[in-house]
């Protein structure tokens, strides 16, 4: 075959060494690709009915451990949809606060944060649980962790759309209640599969800490600014409104009011940091 490349040498009509190497490399790469990057490997994890998904979503907020004999069937549909929803909520909040990202787009950042947290923390928890001799596989932990993110979605969604004068209390209340329930459920499921009681306590504390800390991070990195913009420029502390911050984005462009805005944001931040330090002190005192 006369192709563009010199596949056969001119003298003997045999294929050149280069073309043999290229063909062999290509078939090897294709075989490796078909073996490892095949979507079919994930297919059994998406075999789920809608009512199962809803049932698992509700159960992720009920703090009940699972017995050792009960087989948790890992599924990845629910967790990936929850991660997409969380990314969508973050994009919405970043748009509300006109958060500008210099490197990379807004959307890329939020997807990276959500999926990175889900997969990264699952790997971390699964390595710790391997060390602590827990009988859970990586896929099961991925699925449990993903469903626990449903609590995060709920908290951020409610805190974004309900604006009252006591927004801080609302958020921290939701953080404790919903986030706490989801964290306790995840901790109980994972620790019920661990035998050693000291490892149980350690693993439980680690899971609860990671879960709650991520929600706090999401609040301060993405949600706080939107909240402050809404409060500072609306000047209506008790307005429970449907579309809270549409006019604020246009007003931000006006230069004279930006100084007042930054002053107010700074004062709000100082107040909130005081609240955080007192709440963390209270939490550590109780624990």
């Amino acid at each position: 075959m006369r192709g563009n490349q010199q596949t056969t040498s001119l003298e003997s009509g045999l294929p050149t060494v280069g073309s043999i190497v290229w063909a062999a490399g290509r078939t090897r790469a294709q075989q490796a690709f078909n073996l490892y990057a095949n979507l079919d490997y994930l297919r059994p994890y998406f075999d789920v009915e809608p009512k199962d998904v809803i049932q698992r979503l509700i159960r992720s907020l009920v703090p009940r451990g699972s017995s050792r004999e009960e087989n948790i069937k890992p599924e990845l549909y629910g967790p990936s949809m929850i991660a997409f929803t969380l990314a969508a909520i973050l994009i919405y909040q970043m748009k509300l606060s006109s958060h500008s990202v210099q490197d990379g787009t807004l959307i890329g950042t939020s997807f990276l944060v959500c999926f990175g947290y889900w997969i990264g923390s699952s790997f971390a928890i699964s390595s710790f649980s391997y060390v602590c001799n827990t009988q859970l596989s990586l896929m099961q932990i991925l699925s449990i962790n993903g469903y626990a993110l449903f609590g995060h979605c709920l908290v951020l969604f409610l805190a974004t759309f309900i604006h009252t004068s006591h927004d801080h209390f609302l958020f921290y209340g939701l953080w404790l209640v919903v986030g706490g329930l989801a964290a306790i459920r995840m901790a109980m499921v994972i620790t019920s599969r661990t035998i050693n009681p000291q490892y149980r306590v350690l693993l439980g504390l680690l899971i609860i800490f990671v879960h709650m800390a991520f929600l706090l991070y999401l609040h301060f990195a993405y949600h706080q600014l939107a909240e402050n913009v809404a409060h500072a420029l609306n000047n209506e502390p008790t307005a429970a409104v449907k579309l809270p911050v549409k006019p604020t984005i246009s007003i931000v462009a006006e230069i004279p009011s930006v100084k007042n805005l930054t002053r107010q944001i700074r004062s709000n931040f100082k107040n909130s940091s005081k609240i955080i330090s007192t709440t963390t002190l209270n939490m550590t005192a109780k624990a």
């Binding site: 009915e49 929803t85 969508a88 500008s100 959307i107």
Partner: protein, 222 residues
């Protein structure tokens, strides 16, 4: 030389009939389809492709049962719609972030299509990436029209923060969102078993919901 031309096995019988003929077939339409469109005049190509694009827009606006969007997919419609939407959603931006803002809608479209394709394939459907880009892009037309209406309505000055105007904008965009969802359900919902339809439709719902909120949140720089 003579030995080469002698037959390998000599037989006395002549039982095998020699089959002769031409290997080249006379060119009929189906074989030379690809070649013939290269030779046609440019105006014919443009008319044909534009006709296909407008017909698909028609399917997106008035959804009816047809497999044209899926089987003869093309990416012109999505390109035009997404570019127009990205231009409409430009807001007050500095020089460095203007490019990133324009790319946001494209990135959203890309990630949305990948998510819908992978989800649909893993749940047992048979849809390819370009088919889902085509359907998601064409079904954006009602949302694009609502973005136009949104931008026009924003020019009307309003004093209070929540006025009847904002409510009208919200309702217009939500109506367009419902229309878009109905259209894409007609095309993409058919590729699934009936009891798992909700699982396939949720990412599409999320994608269009996000775009609808981006349109609602868009306000003119003053």
């Amino acid at each position: 030389m003579d030995t080469d031309q002698a037959p390998f096995l000599t037989t006395s019988t002549q039982g095998i009939d020699m089959i002769e003929g031409d290997i080249t077939l006379p060119s009929n339409r189906t074989n030379s389809n690809e070649l013939s469109t290269l030779d046609e005049p440019v105006l014919d190509t443009i008319k044909r492709d534009l006709g296909a694009v407008f017909r698909k827009f028609g399917y997106a606006v008035i959804p009816r049962h047809s497999s044209t969007l899926l089987q003869q997919w093309d990416l012109w419609g999505p390109l035009i719609l997404v570019t127009t939407l990205a231009i409409l959603l430009q807001s007050n931006a500095t020089k460095s972030s203007a490019g990133a803002q324009f790319a946001e809608v494209f990135t959203l479209m890309l990630i949305g299509s990948i998510a819908v394709t992978v989800n649909s394939q893993l749940l047992g459907g048979k849809i390819s990436f370009f088919q889902s880009v085509c359907v998601l892009g064409y079904c954006l037309l009602p949302l694009l029209l609502s973005a136009f209406v949104n931008n026009i309505l924003l020019y009307i000055p309003t004093k209070s923060t929540i006025s009847i105007l904002h409510i009208i904008r919200f309702l217009v965009v939500m109506a367009a969102y419902a229309w878009t969802m109905y259209a894409s359900v007609q095309f993409l919902g058919q590729t699934q078993q009936p009891n798992r339809r909700m699982l396939v439709l949720y990412p599409i719902f999320l994608f269009y919901f996000l775009i609808a909120w981006l349109i609602i949140l868009h306000a003119h720089p003053k």
